[in-house]
Symmetry: C2
Subunit: 1021 residues, 2 copies
């Protein structure tokens, strides 16, 4: 699957899911789940220690929480490098835990982060690997969660989360068989919890989910009412219990109870049980433990309680923990002979979960999410929704890159990985994206050098993918002309197009339907001829690059102008445009002054002639009009000098000094560009805030391209910059945000659905994560904003929607990162400049999703643009589509990725919610055999969402929830093996047995024609 | 041997030195050294890795340095308690090292401190003990040094050092046989090195000695001249090579070279050898290592160098060290195939020593010592010579208590440990004394709470000994009257004697000759009758307790007066005095005003009538007279605000702000007591400094009993209080101090014998440790001061001798202890008050030792005083001696201690140096069979000094030294097995096969008379 130094070929060789070829008629039930055949494991629930039913059973769960980067980079954490920053070395943790597990078969350990486990595993000897397999098979070492990382929940996109989970779980499956499959999801550290994550986990087959952080008010209420364990119904579209997830809140975050931390990093007194030495303390320890256990039992429902015995990077010297835990268990249980009713045991989250399940109780039902997270009255973790906006954007772009790279690997077959442009792979990017999902990565809550490392990894990944993409495009197009990738088009930098008089532009569209797109290519000529794949001329215009862009690009390019034209590309395919210089010379300058409006056939946008600000937005099709003014403001970040609280704004925390933001400028300096392709109103608010209001011909969407930075802090005031849209929409204290880019949740001001909120932070306490979109609406109008990255935002006033764009802070917020969020780089020594886009659409609420659903996917999976210099060779294939036809609008091609030599992972997604669209919120059926053009799909097996179980073998524990709804009867299955039906918000995951890519394609079509398809059993390709 | 919770009986059961009964004629050569019979070990030198002769061989020595108390108590260190003070847990170190040694047979580890190893060992399972025995037998785990602790060298008394070494080495011998016997002495941390320690180590059979700290000037010179390894000739009396010790200075103190510390407590980069991860650094590490190794080789003589890979409490997680060391060795040695000439190997100090020995070089000869230690120009470690004077005194008293306790255990036999007063033991005291020898214990350089712990342990030890002593005295005396121990006689506190009208006083003399002693017993009557064991009346006097004593005792007693009288006790025996009240009423008050003189038949002491200070001292026998004035002063402790250096005075460092001390008072307030028993001139210098100049009838010694404290620091000035004796003696810049209470070294002002000193601290740089005595002399007069504890002192002016008595400091001196030396207790909340005695004798130099040798031993082994209330029962045995006769004056009974059920450890010491005394510096012969009264000595075997080897099997490596002297031919052996000859400064150690104590004694004498003695072979008693 990859040439990445033998790693994946190794993975492939130990693959445990044995793929059995299907004939068309064969049902999926015959797919066996792989096992380690020479062992008869008693892992999972079978390996749990028995409890004592009449007693309070205390499940001690030894664990380590290993951040996949935070204060140190992931590799520094792995090796234990830079221990001066933080003492943490995961290689030693795994060394030590394995040693200690071997000393006492009663001991248990759970491991979570496969990014680390994978690094460790490949350095181990065969003997050690065999030893560890034994521990896993006996349930003594158990994987929980098991993704590549423990993803952030506020700022991640669901597609990247599914990818990273799939990668981690696949490694465990390949390495350990079904004993390596985690039963429990475990998000003990993320700073708030997304409903979409719960939905994903449910669909991945997890039996339960545990976390540590939730609003302190919520926790207090739940403790009092013993509602710390519940059933989370995580989708409004999917039929229960598809997205139901049993969810438990851990008693001490993820730490041990006070006084019982025996890690080398802790100072709690060890158990001193030698009466010959001073300070014998067994009685004291046992007494303290019994008090804590009995108190904890009062806030949970069953006679089983869990204690997390570990914390960040603990168990580097596991002996300290286990030696004392062994003693604790011995001495506490000894008390039973004196009448104690407390029984302590080594356990795991799944063993604890099993006992909860056996209790056969009815649990409360949770339907909303756990945002925002506050750990005290003025300590709202809503700053990280926006922290490091450039990293957040780079991560989002990279997700698109990776999907394209995956497509190219499938379309190109082996040639993609080793081709005319050398050796490439998608695996480097997969790993880079997977670590970037970590809750201190894309969240923006890591140290600066670590943020740099994540970005570097993504860049490395993309460099490896570029080779792969070039190889495939060469194979698909028949042209070996070198491909040039211009990664700074957003600031009008592309050395090739700036200097070339003739070049071509290849536009690859990773979506399953044709898209139109507007390109703006940096050039130095005044007129160009652009022709499409059919040789037809395309309307193009040259406009002067804005001064804001010149300022931002810092000498990296020298383009005077941008060449704009519209492109189209077929589904999962490309189209090629040729560009020739017609005329050199300076371009027309933009026109100064405020225009009355800009308009196309769909939209009209008006401006206030006094201020230069937007004043209204009109949907010309629907004849809707809303008042819309928009401006930029900054909140003064609290420096902690406040009578209510000393909390400062920082990477995690958003705490404005005042609920009223400062306006940056009441008026904007304006210039306007208007031509047949694009209309731009360029607004300058200050030297560090500018914006282009852009309307392309034929676009139903208004683009606001903002540029913010360097945020000045010479006044010693930290600043959190927002843009605010103030409209005439009667939003009644309500607005809407998506969860991880999928289902939308209603947000009501100063309100939480599950408890009586005491609001203490009028702004920060009303901020929510916006992953891909937010909207406000009334009965008539819905204004939807699609973002290009995750951001925080809120609706503080009716009709208003604000989005935080950038933050620059002078203080650390005392949550561990130990740095103020003050981004500076070599290129931007006076502070980072960030540019991004908000896409606005105005629709009637009932049809708004018809626009924002596909629009948001276009932003996530934007076309990949590659350039070749000069004229293309004559036989170049200028257009290609990997799909036989566009998929229906409701269907999103979520994943097409090479799985192993002869199979491909396919995920099809219904991208509409159940009641969202009259037109699209209905089941659609896709024929898998008729999907691809170059891939012959010979067999198919449906998997769970994470592709580590056959779908029909995924049997989850069932939980009773307090709910009026009765589970619907199971609806009819798919019409046939090949025709799969997708219901709203459903994602279906398939392993396709394919004859992949060009070579096979040619082979099949030219050599065998239909022969194989008529046979009932197929041999390996 | 002891009833200490089974520990020693366990030790006895695994004893490896099998004792074979001797007939009188049998030579000692037939004593076999014990082995672990079922193993054929290749430990010691045989187990070393082979070196590569043509290369630079780098011996990596993994080690941990485990202070037996410092910032935490010894038990806190063992368990890893109070890790908030310092992260350190020895139990885990040993757990971890054993695990890691098992992972790779090439790995080596050395362990040093038996106090810790013993604690760990007794908690281990049989399996683990067997495993560790295997490691020791294979030389993979090697003990070095091996004493109970790593003793301090400046402030310890040789007898306590020998005891603690013996205890540690015995445990190793009993547990591991000869593979447990350390070949190397290892004092990597003590702050300067005593010649007597080197002599002791040589006599204990060590082949070499390594240390880390020496004067920076000395080190620089030795590095330049490659003289960091040498032969230390550590005695001027003992025939070489008896006290010759090969001595090496370690390259980095005891730390690893910079950048190569891989402990969990270090931050150096680990070796990152996975090319798939970031920051691959193998080349960098190897290059840095080669540079360091080659540089180090330039300052040593051979092609072998040593690197200490460890430090304080390291290896708690040994995996970190070994994993990286394994890699270091692999990658550095891999370079040999590219021509590198550096070979790295796991090693131990003995393996390194073996290669030095094989080099067969001639080494420079060292004859003086390594005091004082300076690590920079103004950083003289001469403060700790005096730090915590009360603890130093308590340790010294406890040493005497322990010797007495040992005697009692031998004299009392099993009855002593379980008798009429219950269960007692000497082992608690032995352990307490052993840990008190540690270089952060008696040295005074520990934290206050740790100092309290040492004192508590000694008190506990003494409490256990009191039971033992009471049991034996009951058995010996035939009286079961309860014994009362008054431990505060120095401040005139003893509830029994204060209230009783009739009591008796038992005086036990642990010396081998009869002693006289003057008692001062707190009473409230005005007249008493005192009768001796023969019923004869003894002259007694009652004097009023001084106001200084009343102030110091803080309400612990209410005695108005002290009853003084002289007592005598036979060798290793007791005598009993009866005291009856004659008359109540107030005593006479002392006479105010300065007396002209006080005098007895030996001495006359005059006073200056103006000042009240001493003015002269006359020896009436020898007709010597010296001018002698004495007063008290304080140095202002540096607070670090100094242009030369920021060093402050602290627990370790003495750094006066000025070389001129402040006088406390030029005049003293005086009162005088004069009677037939004692004459006292009581001097008050200030509310916090007073003194009693005391001359007993018949005493040749003038006693100066000083009381200092609470030292006032309200002026924010740290104070270091001295007393200074200024005399007319023409001392020519020279004075003399003893080394650990034995041989005396000459000290010359601003001079070191082995290098050209650049003196930077005129006072602190001329301070030396005084363990038991110091003197100044000229051709005619020698004034010797015998101290009651270790103190620092110097002779800054000719004819002057100053001794630092007490220190109270306001700053930490940045050597780790992290506390200012500012002793405060519940009883002395405003600062500790300390009382002590200096004993002065004036003699012609040629005969001075005749006085000060026995005098110093009397101070160390003072009689034990016990009281019984009321009349003694009529049949009480009032006098007893354990010796058949007094030993000759030159012979000191250093050790009489029960070894196991039927054997006794005996050490006889010649206490004079070779040229010290015309009368006593000659060989003396003692007949072991005629030694004891109640012990029948049936066999004898001579041991090395530490009693872990048969003397005749002690074969040490021979080293060639640059010396004109040729070793003398071996002198003739002892006249017979029983008659042993002692030459000056010789200590001889014997295991006696005895029928011990009362029961056996009775049994033998009454039942068997001479029968057994005539048999040639004896069965076990």
């Amino acid at each position: 699957m990859s040439h990445d130094s033998g790693t994946l070929s190794n993975m492939a060789s130990v693959v445990h899911i044995s793929f059995v070829l299907l004939v068309f008629e064969l049902g999926v039930s015959s797919f066996p789940v792989g096992q380690t055949p020479d062992e008869s494991p008693s892992c999972g629930y079978e390996s749990c220690h028995v409890i004592k039913p009449g007693m309070l059973n205390v499940h001690l769960v030894p664990h380590t929480h290993d951040d996949v980067g935070w204060l140190k980079t992931v590799d520094q954490y792995f090796y234990g490098d830079r221990n001066n920053i933080q003492h943490a070395g995961v290689q030693y943790i795994l060394d030590s835990v394995v040693d200690q597990l071997l000393k006492n078969p009663d001991r248990r350990f759970i491991y979570v982060e496969t990014a680390f486990f994978y690094r460790w595993w490949k350095q181990q000897s065969d003997d050690m690997q065999a030893t560890v397999k034994g521990l896993v098979a006996a349930g003594r070492l158990e994987f929980v969660n098991g993704g590549w990382c423990m993803s952030d929940e506020a700022t991640t996109h669901y597609s990247a989360v599914i990818d990273q989970m799939t990668m981690g779980l696949r490694f465990l499956n390949d390495t350990f068989g079904h004993c390596g499959r985690p039963r429990v999801a475990w998000h003990i550290d993320p700073f708030g919890h997304a409903r979409e994550h719960a939905s994903i986990f449910a669909q991945m087959g997890y039996d339960g989910f545990f976390f540590g952080r939730l609003d302190y008010q919520d926790r207090n209420r739940r403790m009092a009412s013993r509602e710390q364990e519940m059933v989370w119904r995580a989708s409004e579209s999917l039929t229960p219990p598809t997205a139901d997830l049993f969810t438990g809140i851990l008693p001490n975050g993820y730490n041990p109870p006070e006084g019982f931390c025996w890690d080398q990093s802790c100072d709690d007194p060890p158990i001193r049980d030698d009466p010959d030495l001073e300070d014998y303390n067994v009685e004291d320890v046992v007494t303290r433990f019994l008090v804590i256990a009995n108190e904890q039992a009062t806030v949970y429902k069953t006679n089983n309680i869990i204690m997390t015995m570990g914390s960040d990077f603990q168990y580097e010297n596991a002996n300290l923990w286990y030696k004392n835990l062994d003693k604790l268990i011995r001495y506490v249980n000894q008390k039973q002979s004196n009448g104690s009713r407390v029984n302590v045991l080594y356990s795991t989250p799944s063993c604890y979960l099993q006992e909860l399940h056996r209790a056969n109780l009815t649990w409360t039902l949770k339907r909303d999410d756990f945002f925002p997270y506050a750990d005290a009255a003025h300590d709202l973790w809503t700053g990280y929704f926006t922290s490091r906006p450039a990293l957040k954007r780079y991560e989002r772009i990279s997700n698109g890159y990776l999907q394209t790279c995956n497509h190219m690997e499938v379309l190109g077959g082996p040639t993609s990985r080793k081709g005319v442009f050398g050796v490439g792979d998608s695996y480097t990017m997969k790993k880079a994206m997977a670590v970037a999902q970590h809750h201190d990565a894309v969240s923006g809550t890591e140290k600066q050098h670590v943020a740099n490392d994540y970005a570097r990894r993504l860049a490395d990944g993309w460099a490896r993918c570029q080779v792969l993409v070039s190889n495939t495009l060469a194979a698909l197009s028949g042209s070996v002309a070198p491909r040039v990738y211009c990664e700074h088009l957003n600031v009008s930098v592309c050395p090739l197009t700036e200097s070339s008089s003739q070049f071509s532009v290849n536009v690859y569209n990773p979506l399953a339907r044709p898209v139109s797109w507007w390109l703006r290519i940096p050039v130095n000529g005044t007129a160009y001829t652009v022709t499409d794949a059919d040789g037809k001329t395309v309307d193009s215009q040259v406009v002067r690059v804005s001064q804001a862009t010149v300022a931002v690009r810092r000498g990296r390019g020298y383009a005077v102008s941008e060449l704009s034209f519209q492109v189209r590309a077929p589904p999962m395919g490309y189209s090629t445009y040729s560009v020739s210089l017609l005329q050199m010379g300076p371009p027309d300058s933009p026109r100064p002054g405020v225009p009355k409006d800009i308009t196309n056939k769909f939209l009209r946008v008006t401006f206030d002639p006094e201020t230069g600000l937007l004043s209204s937005l009109h949907n010309l099709e629907t004849k809707q009009t809303v008042r819309l003014s928009q401006n930029f403001y900054w909140y003064n970040a609290s420096d902690g000098n406040n009578k209510d609280s000393k909390q400062m704004s920082g990477a995690y925390i958003f705490r404005p000094n005042s609920s009223t933001p400062f306006i940056i400028s009441k008026t904007a300096k304006i210039e306007t560009v208007q031509n047949s392709v694009v209309q731009e109103v360029r607004q300058w608010f200050s030297p560090w805030v500018s914006q282009v209001v852009r309307l392309y011909a034929d676009s139903k969407v208004l683009e606001l391209e903002w540029t913010v930075g360097p945020i000045p802090v010479g006044d010693d005031l930290g600043k959190e910059v927002i843009t605010r849209l103030d409209t005439s929409i009667n939003s009644s204290g309500v607005f809407y945000t998506d969860s991880n880019g999928r289902e939308v949740l209603q947000r009501r001001k100063d309100y939480r659905p599950t408890w009586n909120l005491k609001q203490t932070e009028p702004v920060a306490g009303n901020y929510y994560p916006i992953n891909s979109r937010a909207y406000i609406k009334d009965e008539k109008d819905q204004l939807t904003v699609v973002t290009d990255r995750s951001q925080g935002g809120g609706s503080i006033q009716d009709g208003s929607l604000e989005i935080m764009l950038h933050r620059r802070l002078l203080y650390d917020d005392v949550r561990g990162v130990g740095e103020p969020l003050n981004e500076i780089s070599d290129l931007y020594p006076e502070g980072l400049v960030v540019r991004g886009r908000l896409l606005l659409s105005l629709s009637p609420p009932a049809v708004a999703a018809d626009t924002h659903r596909p629009l948001a996917q276009e932003v996530v999976l934007q076309p990949l643009i590659t350039f070749t210099d000069g004229k293309l060779p004559p036989n170049t294939r200028l257009e290609f589509s990997g799909l036989q036809a566009a998929l229906p609008p409701a269907v999103h091609l979520l994943t097409v990725s090479q799985w192993d030599q002869d199979s491909v992972l396919l995920r099809l997604e219904h991208q509409f919610e159940a009641k969202e669209s009259k037109e699209h919120s209905c089941p659609v059926t896709v024929n898998l055999q008729k999907l691809f053009t170059t891939l012959n799909v010979l067999g198919v097996a449906e998997m769970n969402l994470s592709a580590n179980q056959w779908k029909d073998e995924m049997t989850r524990l069932d939980w009773k929830a307090e709910s009026a709804e009765k589970p619907l009867p199971k609806t009819k299955g798919d019409p046939s093996v090949w025709e799969v039906t997708l219901k709203p918000m459903e994602i279906r995951t398939f392993l396709l047995r394919c004859l992949t890519a060009l070579v096979c394609h040619t082979f099949i079509h030219e050599m065998l024609s239909g022969l194989w398809l008529k046979q009932s059993i197929y041999a390996t390709c």
